[in-house]
C-alpha cells in the first residue's frame, strides 16, 4: 500500500506495477483494475496520516497560545481521507474573540503567529476571497495549509461526506475512486482551487455523489458501482465534460439525489449563467460552487480527457482483439506495461 514500496517499474504510471492485465477480457475490466490500483496508490499511507496529524497539532498549539478561546478543527478532505499526497490541509478556527475583531487584522496576526512558531517561513493572506484565508507551506513535511475563520458548515459537511462514503451500498469505494481521480486530474492542471476559479474539494465530492446517485444503472439497482469502476470513471468524464447542462441544471444530493432547474429555483444569474450550481447539503439556500468561475475551462478539460480515454479504450480493445486471435501472446511480454495504462494518458 505504501507508495515507497513500489519498485520503480514505471515512472509514468507507478501504480500499474501490480495490475494483472493478462486475465482481463475487455477494456472496462482493465480500466477497473487500473482504477483500483491507482486509488490504492494515491490514498494516504499511515506515515502520511501521522505527519498530517502532527502538523495539525503544531498549528493548533501555536494558535491557541495566542488566542486561548480558539478551537482548531480540521475539515474537508483530512477528515474524509479524500486527500492526495500533496493535497492541502484545511483548518477552520472557531473563536468568539476573532469574530468581533477586524478580519484582515486577525488574518495578519495569525500569519505572524505561524511565522514566529517557525511552522512556515512565508504566509500568504488572501483577504478578498469569498472565504478569506491564510495559506502557507509547512517547513516540516512541506504541506500546504489553508486556514479560515468561523466558517460554520465545513465540519458538518465532512460528517455528511463520510455518511455518503459509508452508507451508499456498493458505492463507497466508487465514490472515493471518482473523487481521487477527478482531484488528481484537476490538480495536475491547477484547476482545483476555488480562489482561482477552479473546483473545490467539496464541489468535486458532491459532483461524484450526484453522478452515482443519478446514474440510471445504479439508480435502478442493476449494478454495484464498486465492480464497475472503469466504465463509471469514463462516464463521469463524459457527463460533466460533454453533456451536463451547467446553464440550466443545478445539483442536489439531498433526499436520494435530484437535479433542479436553476431558473425555476431563482438561481439563474445571466452574468454567471454557465456556472455550476450545487445545493449545499447542509444548507439548501447556499450554492457551494458559485465561486468556481472557471467552470467552462474545467468542462473543456474533462471533455478532452474523455476523448483521450475513449480513443485509448479503442486502442486497447484492438490489442485485446489481436490477442484473442493469437497474434500477440502477452500484454506484458514485449510491450511496456504502461502502454496498457489509460489513466496515465489523461
Amino acid at each position: 500500500k505504501r507508495r515507497q514500496d513500489f519498485a520503480p517499474t514505471s515512472r509514468k504510471a507507478p501504480w500499474i506495477a501490480k495490475v494483472d492485465w493478462d486475465s482481463c477480457h475487455n477494456v472496462p475490466e482493465m480500466l477497473h483494475r487500473e482504477v483500483e490500483a491507482f486509488v490504492r496508490y494515491m490514498s494516504p499511507t499511515e506515515v502520511e496520516e501521522e505527519i498530517r496529524g502532527l502538523v495539525i497539532i503544531l498549528v493548533s498549539n501555536a494558535i491557541t497560545n495566542a488566542f486561548p478561546d480558539a478551537q482548531i478543527l480540521p475539515f474537508g478532505s483530512y477528515e474524509t481521507k479524500l486527500y492526495l499526497p500533496n493535497g492541502d490541509i484545511d483548518l477552520m478556527i472557531k473563536s468568539e474573540s476573532m469574530a468581533y475583531s477586524d478580519k484582515v487584522n486577525v488574518l495578519r496576526t495569525l500569519a505572524n503567529v505561524i511565522k514566529r512558531a517557525r511552522i512556515a517561513s512565508k504566509v500568504t493572506i488572501i483577504a478578498k476571497a469569498k472565504v478569506p484565508i491564510i495559506k502557507f507551506v509547512t517547513v516540516y513535511g512541506r504541506l500546504n495549509v489553508d486556514i479560515s475563520i468561523n466558517q460554520g458548515n465545513g465540519v458538518v459537511a465532512g460528517d455528511i461526506v463520510n455518511g455518503f462514503l459509508n452508507g451508499m451500498r456498493g458505492c463507497g469505494f466508487a465514490l472515493r475512486s471518482l473523487v481521487i481521480i477527478a482531484k488528481a486530474f484537476l490538480n495536475q492542471r491547477a484547476m482545483n482551487e476555488v480562489y482561482t476559479g477552479g473546483l473545490g474539494s467539496y464541489s468535486i465530492v458532491c459532483m461524484a455523489v450526484s453522478f452515482l446517485q443519478m446514474h440510471p444503472k445504479i439508480r435502478r439497482g442493476e449494478i454495484d458501482a464498486e465492480k464497475n469502476l472503469g466504465v463509471l470513471v469514463m462516464e463521469f468524464f463524459e457527463l460533466y465534460g460533454c453533456y451536463f447542462n451547467y446553464e440550466e441544471v443545478g445539483i442536489s444530493v439531498r433526499n436520494g439525489g435530484s437535479y433542479f432547474s436553476k431558473r425555476q429555483r431563482g438561481w439563474y444569474d445571466f452574468a454567471k449563467r454557465n456556472h455550476l450550481s450545487i445545493e449545499d447539503p447542509t444548507d439548501p439556500s447556499n450554492d457551494i460552487s458559485k465561486g468556481s468561475y472557471g467552470i467552462a475551462k474545467v468542462r473543456q478539460t474533462l471533455a478532452g480527457a474523455h476523448g483521450i480515454m475513449t480513443s485509448m479504450a479503442f486502442l486497447r480493445a484492438g490489442i485485446l482483439g489481436a490477442r484473442k486471435e493469437g497474434r500477440t501472446y502477452s500484454l506484458r511480454g514485449h510491450r511496456e506495461p504502461e502502454d496498457m495504462s489509460i489513466l496515465s494518458s489523461i
Binding site: 455518511g163 444503472k217 442493476e222 436520494g256 433542479f260
Partner: protein
C-alpha cells in the same frame, strides 16, 4: 426498397462500410464502437431486490444520520433539470453543449440494454 438488386454484392459491401458490426450504428465504425467500453457488470436478481430494500430502509433515517445512503428512483434530466426523462432524450430545452451524437449513459437506450430491461413495464 423493393429493388430486386437490394442484396447485390455492391449493396452489401456498401452497408458493411456504413454500419458498425457490433451495434449496427451508422455513426461510427466497429473499432470505435462505444459498446467496446460501455460494458457493465450486472448484479444477480436477488441482489437487486436486496439493494432496493436496504435503500428504502435508509430513506427513513434522517439526513446526516444514515439517509445519505439512500438513492431515489425517479430519473432526472441533465439538460433541463426536470424529472421524468433522461438528458439524452430531452426535448424541453435546447442543448447548449454537445448534442449527443450517440447515446450516453443517461439515455433510454442505456436503460433498455442489459438483463433487467422488461419491455412490458
Amino acid at each position: 426498397k423493393t429493388c430486386p438488386n437490394r442484396f447485390s454484392h455492391s449493396r452489401l459491401a456498401a452497408d458493411m462500410i456504413d454500419c458498425c458490426d457490433r451495434c449496427s450504428s451508422k455513426v461510427h465504425k466497429m473499432n470505435e464502437c462505444p459498446t467496446l467500453w460501455r460494458i457493465y457488470q450486472y448484479v444477480a436478481d436477488e441482489d437487486r431486490v436486496k439493494i432496493m430494500q436496504t435503500r428504502e430502509e435508509k430513506k427513513k433515517l434522517g439526513f446526516g444520520k444514515g439517509s445519505e445512503g439512500y438513492i431515489a428512483s425517479e430519473l432526472y434530466c441533465y439538460n433541463c433539470g426536470n424529472p421524468g426523462h433522461l438528458g439524452d432524450d430531452c426535448d424541453e430545452v435546447a442543448f447548449v453543449f454537445d448534442i449527443p451524437a450517440e447515446p450516453s449513459a443517461f439515455s433510454l437506450h442505456n436503460i433498455m440494454s442489459g438483463p433487467f430491461y422488461d419491455p412490458t413495464s
